[in-house]
């Protein structure tokens, strides 16, 4: 079982790739340990899909090198292909064909003789809860079933490295949980998973390590815990009763904590990071002092909490812009084609 759980699954150095004027990859470095789930986290347009396409041998980089299990993705593409599988963001099976036909087709292409291919297809359909739908055209599947057949197609021949490009985008919460369970099962059998996502909680849930990607570069890397603590040990969230008091509350907080205060879209909310390196007080003491100052200033606080920063806040702190910028989405997709 441990045939492939040592060393690095992916090593990339200085990958660059441009599409016309757009620099999709601007010197990306990655080290993905084998046998883990590794998350590429970033907003749309950050370069995640381009990175996956380069690593899966679909796209040649303009510069830099990448190796998958020691094989160069450009010069030894065929060796890489025999060990990886890709579940892309879009159709990765043929919508006109049935579930069974798709899996048999791909199993045959992987070298299984026809009876073995049929057997394998049936076993996978059963394990993924698609037996009933096996003779239906894939275009008639629901979103969750689509994702499952996509993933089933990717593990026909259990890959050493599985790329999942935004596997849960557009899924309802139950289907998302199903995909998460499948990913956990896949990785527990020794397959390395490189997952791209724009959902911070997804990376937090699944990934052992995360690279935060923005503008074609990795801007931070580490375990979810490390990323959170690099931003500060905690975040104060508070909600006021009266939105009119927010400017005053912002000033009080800034003076008390000596850190920048964020004003979320919610007109009564404020957040601030506390307990950053260099402060002489720990996070809870700072928070307590801030709460006292607010009370003395006559500001009514309805809700007050001190918690670990969310990955959303990590992203905001690292990039100075929020994690999701949907308008860039189509640009990257268009460019990646």
């Amino acid at each position: 079982m441990n045939r492939r759980t040592t060393g690095l699954a992916i090593e990339a150095e200085g990958l660059t790739r441009s599409f016309g004027e757009t620099r999709a990859l601007a010197g990306m470095d990655l080290q993905v340990p084998a046998g883990t789930v590794y998350g590429l986290l970033g907003p749309n347009g950050a370069g995640k899909t381009t990175a996956v396409r380069v690593l899966a041998t679909l796209l040649r980089p303009d510069g830099g090198t990448a190796r998958v299990f020691g094989h160069d993705v450009v010069t030894e593409a065929d060796k890489v292909r025999s060990r990886v599988s890709l579940t892309g963001q879009y159709a990765s099976v043929d919508e006109d064909l049935t579930g069974t036909e798709n899996l048999v087709l791909l199993a045959r292409l992987l070298g299984l003789p026809r009876p073995a291919a049929r057997e394998r297809a049936a076993a996978l359909l059963a394990a993924f809860g698609l037996t009933e739908a096996s003779d239906r055209q894939v275009k008639k599947y629901s979103g969750g079933m689509r994702r499952r057949i996509d993933i089933a197609a990717s593990i026909l021949s259990t890959p050493d490295l599985l790329f999942l490009d935004e596997p849960t985008t557009g899924l309802d919460p139950r289907s998302r949980n199903q995909v998460w369970e499948i990913v956990r099962a896949v990785v527990s059998h020794g397959t390395t998973v490189l997952l791209t996502t724009q959902y911070l909680d997804e990376a937090d849930q699944l990934a052992g390590r995360i690279a935060v990607v923005d503008h074609g570069r990795v801007i931070a890397e580490g375990t979810p815990g490390e990323l959170k603590s690099s931003v500060g040990s905690g975040t104060v969230h508070l909600r006021l009763r009266d939105p009119g008091q927010r400017p005053q509350a912002e000033k009080v907080l800034r003076d008390a904590l000596n850190v920048p205060v964020q004003l979320p879209a919610d007109p009564v909310a404020l957040t601030a990071r506390v307990g950053e390196a260099g402060s002489d007080l720990d996070a809870s003491a700072q928070a307590a002092r801030a709460l006292g100052d607010l009370a003395r200033a006559g500001i009514v606080v309805d809700d007050f909490s001190l918690g670990q920063p969310s990955l959303d806040e990590v992203f905001l702190a690292l990039t100075d812009h929020p994690a999701v910028s949907a308008d860039e989405h189509d640009d990257e997709l268009e460019a990646a084609r």
């Binding site: 879009y90 259990t158 369970e181």
Partner: protein, 285 residues
């Protein structure tokens, strides 16, 4: 009350709960099967094309209705004017319209490829460890079946209208064989355009721009000797002219070695040049 019960029992099995045990049985790494041969992989992709015809039979419209319309239209439109009667004209015209129709439907190869790429399925195919051209070769294998079907439909209509090939069954089969060889080779032009052009529409546009002059500026409809000299020069080098001359000859029980030679040379050239360009683009996308 009973209604509600039925609803729950019906819905219950549709909720999928991933079970670790079930997944474990399919995830256990087995021995990797040997890589399929180039031909085996191409045939498997050809099987995909057949499955697509099975599920989307309306895509056969272009190889059935279109050729029938072409034959009827041109036979009765030009027949009286260009020959003594439509029936006489048909004797000359049928091999030509067969070639025109089949060469025209080769463009669907490019459109089909472009659609597949647009949908994303080719990303999966391109990450498979198989002989690289297999996906495209298999696609064209599927198309070859469509070409044969179209040729047979036209032959059927022709025979019904009074076309009597001098070469008999063997001559007709040889003629269709030559047509299929050329069309297979010519399809590589469209795989190339299918890869480099951005949308289905632009593939269609380019195809029409290439196909109209190629099929009409030829010996399909009239004898080239009736044309001005400059046009004859083009008609003479046009591969469709050579193809029609060769097909006409074998269907009539004769043979035209020069046309045959040119036809095979053009076919080899298309595969070599456009096959290479296609694979270059396919690998580099």
């Amino acid at each position: 009350m009973s209604n509600a019960t039925t609803t729950t029992t019906e819905r219950a099995p549709s909720v999928y709960v991933p079970s670790a045990e079930a997944l474990a049985t399919v995830l256990a790494p087995g021995a990797r099967p040997p890589r399929p041969s180039a031909l085996g992989a191409s045939l498997t992709f050809g099987w995909r094309a057949l499955l697509k015809i099975k599920h989307v039979p309306e895509q056969l419209f272009d190889v059935t209705a279109f050729p029938i319309i072409m034959v009827l239209m041109f036979t009765y439109l030009f027949g009286g004017a260009l020959a003594d009667s439509p029936r006489d004209y048909l004797q000359f015209f049928l091999p030509g319209i067969m070639v025109t129709s089949v060469v025209m439907i080769t463009m669907y190869t490019g459109i089909g490829l472009n659609t597949d790429i647009e949908k994303g399925i080719f990303d999966r195919f391109r990450t498979l460890p198989v002989w690289r051209p297999a996906a495209l070769v298999g696609m064209i294998f599927g198309d070859v079946l469509r070409y044969i079907l179209a040729a047979l439909v036209i032959l059927g209509v022709g025979l019904a209208l009074g076309f009597r090939p001098g070469g008999g069954v063997a001559g007709v089969a040889a003629g269709i064989g030559l047509l299929v060889i050329f069309s297979f080779a010519f399809s590589w032009v469209w795989t190339f355009f299918g890869l480099i052009l951005r949308s289905e529409k632009s593939v269609m546009g380019v195809s029409m721009m290439v196909l109209f002059p190629l099929t009409f500026l030829s010996n399909v409809f009239v004898e080239p000797s009736t044309m001005p000299g400059w046009l004859q020069a083009f008609v003479k080098v046009n591969p469709v002219t050579q193809l029609v001359a060769a097909v006409r000859a074998v269907m009539d029980g004769a043979s035209d070695p020069s046309a045959m030679m040119w036809l095979l040379a053009w076919s080899a050239g298309f595969v070599l040049v456009f096959g290479t360009l296609t694979m270059y683009r396919y690998n580099r996308r």
